[in-house]
Subunit: 190 residues, 4 copies
DNA sequence: AATGAATGAGTCTTCATTCAT
DNA sequence: AATGAATGAAGACTCATTCAT
């Protein structure tokens, strides 16, 4: 069994890893997964290309790490908000707007990369559970989660459509769409 | 100025173009836009790489053509169905299931390629209008289309989630989700 | 022995050939030999790509034809001018300015295509002879043509430098350079 | 920020770059710019195609580098020669003979690539200044450089004509042409 | 005589990734 | 831990040219 690495080195390594993830997330958010390459990510983080591969197996691995950080950030924002439904929706919306490109690529990757899909499914389940805490009357039944899932999917899609401008392009205003979501939530409550 | 080409030649050219689009659509559907290349498309259609460029300016152009064909096919299927809401939903669902990867790449491309986005917006507006014919009580107001748009977005997202298996992975059954859509439609009717 | 083609057909063929050469010359002059292709030449002349190859063996063949036309044009211009040395120089200069890109490509091709080189040499000899007519005291000796050749080379190079702006870029005015040529001519006269 | 690279590595990188330039120069000299490609250059230098692009942005960039090296070489040869006019001319001539194809392509590129033209103009100005050192009585006036420019253009063109054989093809011997240059120089001296 | 369709053989360029140090 | 150098394997796109009609 190899000796545990000295704490100092480990800390440094973790700092590097974090810098890489931050740089990657920024790249994914602004130019997209398919328009960056690992060399750019490394350089933007202040490292040489090869360093990237000391910390991540490949480009997909850092995407997953960035995804994890993204979800954590969203929940942090959500938990900092008070219960008012509309405020929550607007918080989600703001987050989606900011990370539109990232989210799109996430879905594209999920379609071809089983690992991404698995991770996404896992996070969706956590999302449902957290939602149950925020809004107990939308809590899932034992083995029928269709209510929260239906809501989350709808919110997600509507948020994206508002964020990417396609809602407006088809004459649907942000305010009206949010109103529809709120009505939907009411109708879904037990 | 050259004389108008004989009908026979033109027909041949159109046949080639069609074969290319068909081959491309199949590639996009099965391995995805980002995992094919124009050479493969041409060869799969039975032509040399250069032939591709006699018919399409670039890879994106044939994607747009495939997209157009895809939408036409969906509407053909929808119009062949009788009015029953659930049947319509299931038809959409079937179509989405079959073209899941294609649809995902479509969204990814729309995020970076303005041309794709523009085309997508245009088709969305047509979709709303056609929906108004199928279900007059969901017809859009003069400048507030939020009702049909909200519905279409929801259907789209839920269909995708069923199609890609993520609905099931988060314990939401197809049947229940469809039931939610139907309930939503009822509540949206004027 | 095949029968001579009917005169009418031949005339038509020649007209086509001429249109192709004219189109080619214009392309070579404006975008250069290396930036056109035979398809474009044919289309610009109003024909289909394949037609090109009914009239010229390849791209080089039409270049040679355009070259021939170019030289003919220059001599026509020169012979329309009266004997005044400076006027002659200015006529050459005007012609070079207009056909700068063409001339450059001519030299580039001469360096790799023996056929072009051979043709160029032949035309140079004709040029010397014609010069002898215009200016008898610059006529070549039996087998020492160095006087007119030296002059022609100098004029050619100086004209190009004026035409392409490099003379001005190195602080040498057109007027002064022409004056040098005239002085040179005087010193070369027998 | 990465530390300055160790001298050893940098030396290696520079060696690679040099090898690439040498290989490129040789290709340009023997088969010409338009008949090589960056892959061939890289392979001839002993590297993979991609390595080329770590050192040069594109084919034109390495051409410029080769051009710079070519000029440096010419001046080195010139400065190693003693002042005798004829010897200098013969040195230039030898250099032109060796790099005939390169020089031709240089001119062709200058006609279409502004960057090449700019560089060429800059070098011409340096050439004039160096000439002023070698032959003070041909030094340019403040803003009238026509004397040295006229001479350089003539020498250039005559050298090329001797080098490419067209002088001989039009019955102008090398010796006579050089004699004309010398006479010209005398007449241009202040 | 003219042409529409088709193509083989490139050519430039990119990128995830490795290796010696 | 970090890196500079290097790369194999593509992939988008071009062009002179041919052939059946």
């Amino acid at each position: 069994m190899p000796a545990a690495p000295p704490t100092k080195q480990r800390a440094k390594s973790e700092a590097t890893q974090e810098k890489l993830v931050t740089a990657a997330a920024e790249e994914f958010r602004t130019v997209g997964y398919f328009n960056t390459d690992t060399n750019k990510i490394a350089v933007h983080a202040g490292y040489a290309p090869a360093t990237f591969y000391k910390h991540f197996e490949n480009k997909l691995a850092i995407f997953l790490a960035a995804y994890e950080a993204w979800v954590a950030e969203e929940w942090r924002a959500l938990e900092a908000t008070d219960d008012d439904t509309e405020t929550l929706i607007r918080t989600v919306l703001t987050h989606h707007k900011k990370h539109l490109l990232f989210r799109t690529d996430l879905r594209a990757l999920a379609a071809t990369e089983p690992e991404v899909k698995r991770y996404q499914n896992k996070l969706r389940r956590e999302q449902v559970k957290r939602l149950a805490v925020l809004a107990p009357d939308l809590a899932p039944d034992e083995d029928d989660w269709s209510v929260p899932v239906f809501l989350l999917l709808t919110m997600e899609r509507v948020s994206d459509a508002i964020a990417d401008g396609s809602a407006r392009a088809s004459h649907a205003s942000e305010a009206k769409l949010i109103a529809h979501i709120i009505k939907l939530i009411d109708s879904l409550r037990h």
